[in-house]
Symmetry: C2
Subunit: 332 residues, 2 copies
């Protein structure tokens, strides 16, 4: 059973995930990236994944057979286990609980060689709708407090399989970085009675230097204090705290902008590995005036090293103004 | 001039370090690791580094010539600049200041092929003494509030040069992770009137499962909630908040334990890339009852990916009890 453990100094929880099948003797070899025919996410290999939780498929096809355009399955090597109760307990000055949670994989397309940059906008919209579908469903489980949807693209960004996919992890606790974002945003709202991200969007629209692209109710911008070169945030222009409240038409707008952005990224940085993370409000919070959901995209171009791990202080060699200029479609 | 910029939501500062010479067109190529004869840190290439700030060298040798066993030089591509004032200023809702700070390189040995695991204990002790020497000297500069000493070993851990070296960065602000450690430790002290790390050492010594090795006043242990596989902390057994207060004899004890630990790590994990970071109290704080300096060592075995970047919640596939058992010298 995986375990959640809390650092006694800074209060940071970690997942000790023994079921992922790594043993000391397995290091330092990296996970093998499956190629072509042997890929467990490709059509005709449906039996190699756990049974699907959700799919978009032709009406004459059966679950867990070909005929799908998108599948969601439980992760075969989950970081957390779906069964059981938390059973929090102490061990001297330490705190632990059972590693209960959901860990799912969104297989974005049957096409092994596609990416979110090359798929048609309808297919990207389908992926975003699948995210929403799974969040709405998992929200019914009262054990869960937070769901993070994320994507690891490319081996250097942590992807262990090449086939286009995203993941989500639902946890019984609100992660520390989400808590910090909520706290900072609530403090700002307390002073100004305005959402900090709404203010960021207003200021960036006047300034223009860090705006990358805008369309269909969304804006892509380089944040003022990015941790990573070419870090980009995509936000809905209108205030909204929960991703899962987004309507179908709006998600189509996001699909359009995301596809365009990723094509620019591929062009400017020669198809870089990247991660994206969907920051949304905690499941039980209801609509929040001070939180604004957004997608953070971080290309994997540099190694995070000792200074960052020791301080939380990131060294970024590319000013966001330069990154935004390079990523703007007119190149200006 | 590099700039310090603050994220308006979470208050995290970043260093926008334009002088490191990276431009958008330089990505995604990684820095070249210099080999053998062309290495700027090797003897006879002293003129290729900025003039030395400190050295251990034979009494008949001149500064910036061969004859040294250790050199400290300013980083040729510093993340921060030593000249100037902070000049904090606003930009709408954002905060910035000039990127003032010191960034130095400790060239640990003339031997390009050595490591802290292969050097004799006297040479490792010399490296630790050089850390102390530079911290004591930089502490005199009233602009600085914190100094992090760290090491990136191996390209995957962020080293851009192969020649054995460590670095330090002095900053005008206390980094966010240090603030969080201080805050958590002060809260614990407020409740218990004991140092949390002293309590950790006591509990681990009784429990034994996470103790790796002990000697000469230092203990190496796998923390209860490690972020990374084989993460290890080395702490002085006796309470002390500032690294720079450590005496010569004690540093020799640390050199002995660190060398032994790194040889075990090399043996068990086949010479992995790693980072280490020296956590010590802020420069202006004086002796603190609630802070206990320590060295954190993190082998670079897995990729940090979207889930960690989105949540601050680390997934670690190796329980620290297993890691400690593998690293213990008797293998038990």
């Amino acid at each position: 059973m995986p375990e959640l453990r809390k650092d006694p100094v800074v209060g940071r929880w970690v997942i000790i995930s023994t079921e992922r099948g790594r043993r000391p003797s397995d290091f330092p070899s990296q996970p093998v990236v499956a190629q072509g025919g042997s890929c467990v996410f490709c059509p005709h290999n449906e039996a190699k994944t756990p049974p699907e939780l959700f799919a978009v498929r032709s009406s004459d096809s059966l679950p867990n057979t070909p005929g799908w355009s998108l599948r969601v399955v439980p992760n075969k090597f989950p970081a957390l286990r779906i069964e059981g109760e938390l059973e929090p307990s102490g061990e001297g000055l330490y705190d632990r609980m059972n590693g209960v949670g959901a860990h799912e994989v969104i297989i974005e397309t049957p096409d092994h060689a596609a990416t979110l940059a090359t798929l048609p906008v309808e297919a990207v919209a389908e992926v975003l709708l699948a995210y929403r579908e799974r969040v709405v469903d998992l929200k019914k489980d009262p054990r869960f407090e937070y769901i993070l949807v994320f994507k690891n693209h490319g081996a250097a960004a942590g992807a262990s399989l090449e086939h286009p996919h995203s993941q989500l992890i639902a946890t019984p606790i609100i992660p520390i970085m989400v808590q910090e974002e909520l706290k900072g945003a609530a403090e700002y709202y307390g002073m100004k009675e305005r959402c900090v991200w709404c203010d960021v969007i207003r200021q960036e629209r006047r300034d223009r230097r860090r705006i990358i692209m805008e369309a269909d109710g969304f804006v892509a911008l380089a944040p003022f204090a990015p941790r990573f070169p070419f870090e980009t945030w995509i936000l809905p222009s209108r205030h909204r705290s929960s991703f899962e409240e987004t309507g179908v038409e709006e998600l189509r707008g996001l699909a359009e902008l995301l596809g365009r952005f990723l094509r620019r990224l591929d062009g400017v940085l020669q198809r870089p590995p990247f991660n994206f993370m969907l920051h949304t409000a905690p499941l039980r919070d209801g609509p929040l005036d001070h939180f604004h959901w957004h997608l953070e995209i971080i290309p994997k171009l540099t190694n995070v090293a000792g200074y960052e791990w020791g301080t939380g202080f990131f060294i970024n060699p590319v000013p966001p103004e330069d990154a935004a200029a390079a990523l703007r479609e007119n190149g200006a």
